[in-house]
């Protein structure tokens, strides 16, 4: 799998994932969550930017999805078919997170399906978030 390379901006995100916690970049001036992290807060445009990192619930609903059947990334060839979902997190309207959705058949996702984040250990201190249907 393509291994994410934490950088000055993304380091805290991947460190939290390694601890199986979802933390997102958040403007300390206006409270706006930014995922992925942005250069500037799109809500208040404060400069210099004043982003911190806040934990989120990892809960959300499926906005839409695709079933990947041809892997353009060869490392995913053994995984097809798999579902990539566009999940809107509960913390903020329009706060979207694209990740794999597991635990459903390719035909099973639905718009509005409640989901919950989980983490996949990659080794080397990296864990990748993905979603599963939320426990009812």
């Amino acid at each position: 799998m393509p291994v994410p390379v934490p950088d000055d901006t993304s380091g805290p995100f991947w460190a939290a994932c390694a601890a199986h916690e979802l933390k997102l970049s958040r403007c300390t001036n206006c409270g706006w969550f930014a995922y992925p992290p942005r250069a500037v807060c799109l809500q208040c445009l404060i400069t210099p930017p004043a982003f911190g990192w806040d934990p989120v619930s990892g809960r959300g609903t499926v906005r839409t999805w695709t079933v990947v059947r041809q892997a353009f990334l060869p490392d995913f060839a053994a995984e097809v078919p798999y579902v990539v979902a566009d999940v809107e997190l509960v913390e903020q309207p329009g706060l979207r997170f694209l990740a794999r959705l597991r635990g459903t058949a390719p035909s099973e996702p639905a718009i509005g399906l409640p989901v919950q984040v989980a983490f996949d250990e990659m080794g080397g201190g990296i864990a990748i978030p993905y979603f599963v249907p939320a426990a009812m």
Binding site: P2, D7, T64, T66, V68, Q70, D75, V84, Y130
Partner: protein
């Protein structure tokens, strides 16, 4: 701006999966043919522009003259020193280039401008990328197995299908129509190769609900146009086709990964459509040759709805009318599905050929107004053309 600038000539290379000469050489040849077609010589041309993005998300290097051809490369190899040279940076490349050229001519920065577009099909998988590490922006997509434009378009298309009850069978009308038109075009990669509904429905799925035939086929090819002022165009051999107005899309707020929720895509598209209709004074049903973009087939629905041909959610029914809708020849130019991945050139070419009365056997009885779209309606462009200079 309307009516001040016209297309005076064109040339188009054969479109093919593999090229038998370097893309730069094919571009030089095609551009020289376009200049001659306009009744001009190389020394008359004093402006050059293109949008040179090579849209593959594969891992191969992009070398100017091989995988893409900038106007800068072109003038160096033509050995000319134009007074105006400009590159369009963004998506909607052919529309953006035409808009730059139109403004340059109208302002007097250049008198005769070559707009070209050169497209390249790399060996191997177009979007295949064997990265082992995901650096920078890629770390938010690749580790999730999310990669490449087809998936990006599949997400809002799935939303469309789910929200409006559309089916892949509906889209068959778009694809078979485009291929029927493309089968008549001698330069097309699909010349003589129409497609049946059954073949479309059986085609290999790439990323649901997109099959391989919902994506235009990567090709090599070059299109070139010569633009000049309305006054100068009237002294040249071919009937001028006037730029009547244009609009460019903006993606809206940065969404981090290149993917738009359907509603955002349509809000942005409707804003572009408003700009087009306001800049031209025209309305959808004034247009004789509407050439919507189809590089990914869902864009046909999105453009038709954004431009006001039908309401949101209705395009999948609208396209089932014969000829998409009686009297509206959306598909005469074949588009990207009927030609190959020429990034908006087929749409512009069809506008030009029909309005210049140069479409041969395909000539429409009425062809006085046209538009050519490219890319997604929220992040692309559209240029309108007329046979009479409207202002």
């Amino acid at each position: 701006m309307a009516g001040k600038v016209a297309i005076a000539g064109y040339a188009h290379s054969p479109i093919s999966r593999r090229v038998d000469m370097p893309l730069g050489a094919l571009t030089v040849r095609t551009v020289l043919e376009a200049i001659a077609d306009a009744g001009l010589g190389i020394d008359d041309i004093d402006g050059f522009t293109t949008g040179a993005l090579h849209p593959s998300s594969g891992a191969g290097a992009v070398i100017d003259g091989d995988q893409t051809v900038t106007s800068d490369w072109l003038i160096q190899h033509l050995g000319v020193r134009p007074r105006w040279l400009c590159g369009f940076q963004g998506v909607g490349q052919i529309c953006g280039s035409v808009i730059l050229a139109t403004n340059a001519i109208a302002s007097g920065a250049a008198d005769y401008v070559v707009v070209h577009r050169a497209m390249y099909n790399p060996p191997g998988s177009y979007h295949g990328n064997d990265m082992t590490e995901a650096v920078g922006a890629d770390q938010w997509s690749a580790p999730h197995g999310y990669w490449g434009p087809p998936a990006m378009i599949a997400l809002p298309y799935m939303e469309y299908l789910q929200c409006y009850g559309a089916t892949r069978g509906d889209m068959a009308h778009v694809v078979t129509g485009a291929r029927a038109a493309g089968a008549l075009l001698p330069w097309s990669a699909w010349y003589g190769k129409p497609l049946s509904t059954e073949e479309y429905l059986k085609s290999r799925m790439i990323t649901d609900p997109m099959s391989v035939l919902d994506c235009d086929m990567p090709v090599n090819g070059v299109g070139a146009f010569v633009l000049t002022s309305a006054e100068r165009a009237r002294d040249l051999p071919h009937k001028p086709v006037y730029v009547a107005g244009f609009a460019q899309g903006r993606s809206g707020p940065d969404n981090g990964v290149d993917q738009w929720p359907l509603a955002d895509l349509m809000d942005g598209g409707e804003a572009v459509a408003r700009m087009l209709w306001e800049s031209t004074g025209l309305a959808p049903h004034d247009i004789d040759v509407p050439q919507v973009y189809d590089g990914f087939t869902p864009f046909v629905y999105f453009w038709l709805e954004a431009l006001g041909y039908c309401a949101r959610g209705e395009a999948h029914d609208y396209v089932k009318d014969p000829g998409i809708s009686p009297g509206l020849p959306f598909r005469t130019g074949g588009g990207a599905v009927g030609n190959g991945r020429m990034h908006g050139v087929p749409q512009m070419l069809e506008c030009y050929l029909q309005l210049a009365q140069r479409a041969g056997d395909r000539q429409l009885a009425r062809a006085e107004t046209a538009f050519a779209c490219q890319a997604a309606p929220c992040m692309g462009g559209v240029v309108a053309y007329t046979t009479e200079p409207v202002s």
